[in-house]
Subunit: 225 residues, 2 copies
């Protein structure tokens, strides 16, 4: 569950990583406001690197800087969820398709399959957290195999934005049984170099996931997450 951007060990990047983690863990809850000074204090840093970190996090869509009202940890509304799922659907499907056209190393393919097996294992023992983690890895890896670095970055950003919500609703959802059949189908298509099928299958998979999430939100009348 740790952070991503270990570009350097500058205080700014430490602040970025730390704040990200605090957001994901809920220590900085969605919708809450925070003064630069407080955050600087909390991280034992001066305001400068914290300000810089906040600018980065704002660019990543995780916080909103509202001068004199504090930095708001951006909540996710049902509409946001819809927007993000639509983007993930398109870009991941693109990646799935191009992954099928590249000749991937057996290692890469094996790694992908490994995450699918892990999801099966996790599901069989009812460990939803482990399933979620493996699912995340699968999607991340899939996108990486697509070979478009910008897609990878954007998908990571969007996934981060819904991470909290996904975790929060994890045990409200029906067990994702169909999910893994989809994953295997995508993998098979990629293995056989069938870009069209890989793309279409993954697209359907993601579209279904969106539907589930939206219905969940309606059913529980969740406003923000």
């Amino acid at each position: 569950m740790n952070a991503s951007k270990r570009k350097q060990n500058s205080s700014t990047m430490v602040a970025v990583d730390t704040l990200r983690d605090l957001i994901f863990t809920g220590d900085l809850p969605a919708g809450s406001d925070h003064l630069e000074t407080e955050l600087a204090e909390a991280l034992s840093l001066s305001r400068t690197p914290v300000r810089e970190a906040l600018l980065v996090l704002e660019a990543q869509g995780l916080v909103e800087i509202r001068p004199r009202k504090g930095v708001r940890i951006k909540p996710i509304s049902p509409e946001d969820m819809g927007e993000i799922y639509d983007i993930l659907t398109e870009l991941e499907s693109l990646a799935a398709g191009t992954a099928a056209t590249r000749d991937l190393s057996v290692g890469d393919l094996a790694a992908l399959e490994q995450t699918i097996n892990e999801m099966d294992r996790a599901l069989s023992i009812g460990d939803l957290a482990a399933w979620a983690k493996a699912d995340d890895t699968f999607h991340t890896e899939l996108v990486r195999l697509g070979g478009n670095s910008r897609v990878t970055t954007i998908v990571a950003m969007m996934s981060d934005q819904v991470r909290r919500a996904r975790l929060a609703t994890l045990d409200l959802r029906p067990a994702p049984l169909q999910s893994n059949a989809d994953h295997r189908a995508v993998l098979t298509a990629i293995r056989s170099g069938d870009a069209k099928t890989a793309r279409r299958t993954h697209h359907a998979h993601r579209t279904a996931a969106k539907t589930v999430m939206i219905q969940l939100i309606k059913a529980y009348n969740l406003k923000t997450l």
Copy 2:
């Protein structure tokens, strides 16, 4: 040709806008390196807002911060171009499709048609710069009508990254005659609420644009732009 983010009149945002413009006009050429101090000097600001602006621009993919080597104005390689066009293809097509499902005001549709007419006019008098501007407006407006704010943001970012390259190759390209037929077809599909056709047509349009650009790059052996 002016900038976008008029969030406030803070020095940081002024710096963001100014630097963006300097990049687009080529005053800060692709691939060139610049010290924070120089840039601060040039903008008559202290390093602080300039540093903050650079962080924002880095997040937008326009510059790369390379400690002790200066800030590099990111050049666009043929590979980058391919990545970006692929993303634009997917996200704009998504937008075209959803635009067709929403009931848009006649004003919105008229505005879109207006840009198409403007492209025709510009082409008929051989004013490529005007054509490019109208084309840009068309795509921006189309995406806006899709109603997904994140798609709008991402497409704007990606478009910015290739803006220089598009302008630079403007008069190397064959006259974009097919282009406007495509635009009209997309508009018609949106008008008639035919999401599938809107999406597919725009997808084909963008894919063709990518091909043209890639061949252009090969033909002229352009390495970075």
